[in-house]
Amino acid sequence: MVSIDELKASLGDLAKEIKTDKSGKAWVFVELDKLKKLLSLLRIDGYDHLSTITGYDDGEKIQLMYHLIKFNDKGSNDINVVTFTDRENSVAPSILDLYPSALVYEREVFDLLGVRFEGHKGLKRLLLPEDVPEDFHPLRKDFKINVEG
């Protein structure tokens, strides 16, 4: 496991806050404009596998989480990077040039939550049909569904 002090030393003052949970995994909080610089530092350090990008709407802001793994035989480690963006006019920088697999993950977050990724060529819906209205984003908190059974 990588300790907080080692992470703080390598990331410097780019990160706003670093926390660890009970199983020893690190959660790194960062501002939106410093996100790409932090991710490129982590990529140079060896975190080259992006598991997925999670989007979560808590009513006031939209939280974006990047889950990364560094594969190094028995010394592998995983880390989570968290950033925030607004609910109205949500934009975020695209990381397609660092991680080519973000092609499908960013399309999914755009489809279900409405976050536009700047620099992603060909950003269109992934899962929902093409003929739904423009502002139809089901995973937002104000989108109510009718559950029976």
Binding site: K22, H49, M65, H67, D73, S76, D78, L103
Partner: protein
């Protein structure tokens, strides 16, 4: 000028629909575009309206073949959220079901890819041998598919000596059959013609495109969640990672057959080392409220790395559940792999990543030279590729060496 062949997504067989559009020049593919979402059911939104325990039975139905992997990954993440201690016997039973699931999933896949090539004999043999595993799973859990053995805090059913000794018989039987299949696959000239040198994904590309599962291990990449980030009891079992350097469809077949033999060894170890007595679940009921917490959990499903993210807000219903299945991670690699190959190579390449949203029901092929359109459905594409190979196999053998 290009020929466009749209192939529609509906086919009333067991497989799920997916739509691809291929841009071709003559017979060679220059570009591809996937179009997914026909089986999108809104499970992540629905899971926010059901309680933690009701979600166990919703999430095992995300996939029919890897249902225990989904339920086990969710239970593992929920145990981190609830901060529960899982007893040791429960971890042994949970791992036993995971390895049995890997056996029957790889046997099913072997049959399916042989059917895509046109070699139906092996399809019949593997699906007959799979019945031994399905009968054992029915004895342990009560049903053949959708065997909900996991709960939050452990497992729901105990296992007795008679069932354990049957598990030993099944593991030895499958290991013997897997060695027979490996010999057949490496010597049959028809299989080698269709799979050797087809669908190349180099090691550097596999790492760059974040490929997961046996598709990556067949390109020499040493990545397996059971080996790198061990969970449950995998750091104690005699686990050996299987890699191969071939980078083509034949390597993917060999890697999966060898993984079946490793799984049989793990099952035998579990049977001999299981604790005799002990509790099988932690003391959590359907009406226990968790603390406010969040957790991420990863499991090596038969197709690759399965990832879950869970968040709780202190109430009986979860706040957010996020699922990332391994087939979504491999779609980017498939687009890269088909470029430069012939139309007749599409079925083995796409089936080679073991898609759980499998099979293009109808495929669209667009010829960029003269704007001609051609529509194929699944059976027509298989018959076309078998006929094309029968006509052209001699010069293909010389070209591929």
């Amino acid at each position: 000028m290009s020929v466009k062949i749209p192939i529609g997504p509906i086919h009333p067989m067991l497989k799920e629909p997916i739509n691809f559009t291929f841009y071709v020049e003559g017979e060679t593919i220059v570009d591809a575009e996937p179009n997914i979402g026909f089986v999108h059911r809104g499970i992540e939104k629905l899971a926010e309206n059901k309680t933690w325990f009701q979600n166990l039975y919703l999430l095992e139905k995300v996939c029919g073949i890897c249902s225990s992997s989904h339920q086990g990954c969710y239970a593992q993440g929920a145990e981190k959220v609830f901060e529960a201690e899982v007893p040791e016997k429960a971890l042994y039973i949970r791992t036993l079901m995971w390895e049995l699931e890997r056996l029957h999933s790889h046997l099913l896949w072997l049959g399916v890819i042989m059917h895509e090539i046109g070699f139906d004999t092996l399809f019949m043999y593997t699906w007959r041998d799979r019945e031994a595993v399905m009968d054992l799973v029915e004895m342990i859990s009560g049903r053949r598919v959708g065997y909900s053995i996991n709960t939050i805090g452990g497992v729901r059913r105990d296992i007795d000596y008679q069932t354990l000794s049957k598990a030993l018989d099944v593991a030895s039987f499958i290991a013997t059959r897997a060695e027979v299949y490996e010999k057949i696959v490496l010597r049959e000239r028809t299989i080698l013609d269709r799979t050797d040198g087809v669908g190349i994904l180099s090691k550097a590309d596999a790492i760059r495109l974040n490929t997961v599962g046996p598709t990556a291990r067949a390109s020499g990449v040493k990545r397996d969640i059971r080996y790198n980030l061990p969970y449950a009891i995998y750091d104690e079992t005699p686990f050996d990672i299987v890699i191969d350097d071939g980078c083509d469809v034949l390597s993917r077949i060999i890697v999966r057959i060898r993984e079946m033999i490793i799984s049989s060894e793990i099952i035998k170890w579990i049977v001999f080392n299981m604790p005799k007595n002990g509790p099988i679940a932690a003391k959590i009921t359907h009406f226990t409220k968790p603390p406010e917490n969040e957790a991420a959990s990863r499991v090596e499903a038969p197709r690759g790395e399965l990832f879950y993210y869970l968040k709780s807000n202190g109430s009986l219903k979860p706040e957010r559940i996020k699922i990332r299945t391994p087939t979504l991670a491999n779609i980017v690699s498939v687009i890269h792999m088909v470029k430069g190959h012939y139309i007749a190579d599409i079925p083995p390449i796409v089936a080679g990543i073991d898609p759980c949203i499998s099979c293009m029901d109808r495929v669209a092929i667009i010829d960029v030279r003269n704007e001609k359109k051609q529509l194929f459905n699944h059976d027509q594409l298989l018959r076309y590729s078998i006929k094309w190979y029968r006509k052209n196999y001699r010069w293909l053998r010389e070209e591929r060496g």
